[in-house]
């Protein structure tokens, strides 16, 4: 098993390398450069040219890339021209916020998906299944940002059950119990809104997996052993159907990244998604590239986690 994991991690390195080159080249292709935002427009163009030279902005692209990646590895992602502060510092808190928002969203996603998927798959073509499938169709058809807006309006403004902006109540001491509770409280509505929509994929997937597994020959073998129906479901059908769901986990993370961009914006939640959105509007390139790089790494990590989980639970992969 660990061999597989190690090999899988080794594969990741060139993946991330390629990703960083790609992002770097894309950033290069965009108008302006790291200086455009930094400098005083009243400065003499000759001065600017000198600064360019000094900063290495006239070097070949690969030399610049090496500079950039060296910095990135050491945690130096450049300066944000809007916030006038190092990107890494800017990102740190937001990264933590988004991380926790994603974790909570994932938990809620599975809390919804697993019971619904199981019910729907086990009792397919009953009224319960039809209601659940109906919900998934609505979920597929509804854009996240509209749904999030509606949720915000109903539960945030109309009923006032949830805070409508921010990630924590201002003035609380970090690390205290109240602080943590407030953090979770702020996360809840965005997470639920996002989860309710993204979960429909998983529900559908689990449903069809279960229906498929139900018809497999080894299920008949289990019945012929005299296993009661509950055992057939719990020991044989469920385990075999949850396996592909584990493989789905990586995609879930990628999907989540897209989701957070909208949801954070709508709920005024200071996370990576919001930062990304705003930086694009303001053409704060060093931030944008950094955020894209992190998103990319998160997707690659997601795929890695999927594969490792799969190798843990699927003996057919575990052996290799």
């Amino acid at each position: 098993m660990w061999k597989f994991t190690v090999r899988r991690i080794l594969i990741m390195i060139p993946q991330i390398f390629l990703l960083s080159i790609l992002i770097f080249l894309m950033a290069q292709a965009m108008p302006g450069d790291a200086l455009s935002g930094l400098i005083d427009p009243n400065l003499d163009p000759k001065e600017i040219a000198k600064m360019r030279e000094k900063l290495g902005l006239n070097d070949e692209w690969y030399a610049q890339y090496i500079d950039w990646i060296k910095g990135a590895i050491q945690g130096d992602l450049g300066e944000s021209f809007r916030f006038k502060m190092p990107v890494s510092e800017l990102i740190e808190q937001r990264l933590i916020n988004t991380f926790w928002l994603s974790v909570v969203t994932l938990i809620i996603t599975y809390l919804i998906a697993i019971p619904l998927g199981i019910t729907s798959g086990r009792f397919n073509d009953t009224w319960a299944d039809r209601i659940i499938t109906g919900y998934t169709y609505i979920g597929f058809a509804t854009p996240v940002f509209i749904f999030a807006l509606v949720m915000l309006w109903i539960f945030g403004f109309h009923y006032g059950w949830f805070p409508t902006t921010g990630s924590v109540k201002p003035g609380l001491e970090p690390g205290t119990f109240d602080y943590i509770v407030s953090k979770i409280y702020h996360m809840l509505l965005p997470a639920i809104s996002l989860a309710l929509i993204t979960t429909v994929n998983t529900v559908q997937y689990l449903r069809s997996e279960i229906i498929d597994t139900k018809q497999r020959d080894f299920i008949i073998t289990a019945r012929a052993k005299g296993a009661p129906e509950s055992r057939v479901y719990n020991r044989h059908i469920l385990r075999n159907s949850l396996l592909p769901i584990a493989a789905f986990f990586g995609f879930e993370i990628t999907g989540l990244i897209g989701g957070t961009i909208f949801v954070e914006q709508i709920f005024g939640y200071p996370g990576m998604g919001q930062l990304f959105y705003e930086s694009i509007l303001l053409r704060d390139y060093s931030v944008v590239t950094s955020v894209v790089l992190l998103f990319g790494i998160a997707s690659i990590l997601g795929a890695l986690i999927s594969d490792v989980i799969l190798s843990l639970v699927d003996p057919r992969i575990r052996i290799k």
Binding site: K3, V6, L10
Partner: protein
């Protein structure tokens, strides 16, 4: 010199291990097999599951990398795929074991049969269709079948489609890998009869791989018995069935179910005798690794793997 000759064929598959997938060992799937088939004859390759029959067939087809050995066809050396001219290569075709999964279910019969034609010959659409229809007629299917999909056919008919594909390029040799193992008796009879018919009609040479000795006996002129990648015995059908020399062959022959129930007692007794002999004389027939010895001739056509006499 036979029409198709295999000399000391070896196919070893590497076993990978470690993080970097280094080769740690080899599976000697085929380990020194020689055979020779005369034109128009059927050569049977028998042996237990995993003994290397399919691998031998695939190696001759050029589908497996050959570790060592030489394959000649009609005098040409075809061992190295790249050296062999395509023209020679297409003279050897293969029929696969499972008629249910060896045909792509999403393709129409026309596309399935025309596939080798498209690889080797440039025909216009009309010519191609005509050829396919001729082939279908030859295998006893209606020419209208071209627009159908494999699932619309019975097992025997599907195997015929497989045969039609195999003979599309007018090959001289057909390697049939357990062509009837997945079929029931009546369909099996249909396919076997049909294979004999086209053999005569097209002057085909068969390498017939199988494990049903009844079928092998019915079809083959010569038989080779494989065990763990090596030959234990080779001879004419007569020799193998009437005077098997190697204990493994004896065991195989004894295991054939007799279709006459009144022989049951005798058969069981016979089998037990062979089993006892097998257990007692195992060391005389296999080396310390449990592998067969080199073949020694006992008659002009009959070879048996026996130890060197001291």
């Amino acid at each position: 010199m036979g029409f198709l000759e295999v000399e000391d064929l070896k196919v070893h598959f590497p076993i990978k291990g470690g993080i970097f997938g280094r080769t740690v060992d080899y599976v000697k799937a085929v380990d020194g097999v020689s055979l020779s088939i005369e034109k128009g004859k059927t050569y049977g390759l028998v042996g237990e599951s995993g003994s290397g029959k399919t691998t031998t067939g695939r190696a001759i087809m050029g589908l497996n990398n050959i570790t060592a050995g030489k394959i000649t066809f009609d005098g040409y050396d075809i061992t190295d795929l790249k050296q062999a001219e395509l023209d020679v290569r297409k003279q050897i075709q293969m029929i696969f074991q499972d008629p249910y999964s060896s045909l792509n279910p999403k393709k129409r019969v026309l596309d399935i049969i025309a596939e080798p034609l498209r690889n080797y010959e440039k025909l216009s659409k009309i010519e191609e269709k005509k050829r396919v229809q001729e082939l279908l007629e030859l295998v006893g299917l209606s020419p209208e079948s071209i627009v159908k999909y494999p699932h619309e056919f019975s097992g025997g008919q599907r195997q015929r489609i497989g045969v039609a594909r195999a003979i599309a390029l007018k090959p001289k040799v057909i390697i049939a890998d357990e062509p009837v193992s997945a079929l029931d008796v009546s369909v099996q009879a249909q396919v076997l009869n049909f294979m004999r018919d086209i053999q005569e009609e097209l002057d085909l040479t068969y390498l017939f791989i199988g494990h049903d000795l009844g079928v092998i006996r019915h079809m083959c002129d010569h038989i080779g018995i494989m065990y763990k990648g090596r030959y234990v015995e080779q001879g004419t059908t007569e020799e193998i069935f009437n005077s098997p020399q190697h204990i493994y062959t004896k065991r195989l022959v004894a295991a054939i179910p007799d279709i006459d129930p009144s022989q049951r007692k005798k058969q069981i007794q016979f089998r037990q005798e062979v089993q006892t002999e097998y257990e007692q004389s195992y060391n005389e027939y296999f080396d310390s690794d449990g592998l067969a010895f080199k073949l020694k001739p006992v008659s002009k056509t009959h070879l048996v793997a026996l130890p060197e006499v001291e």
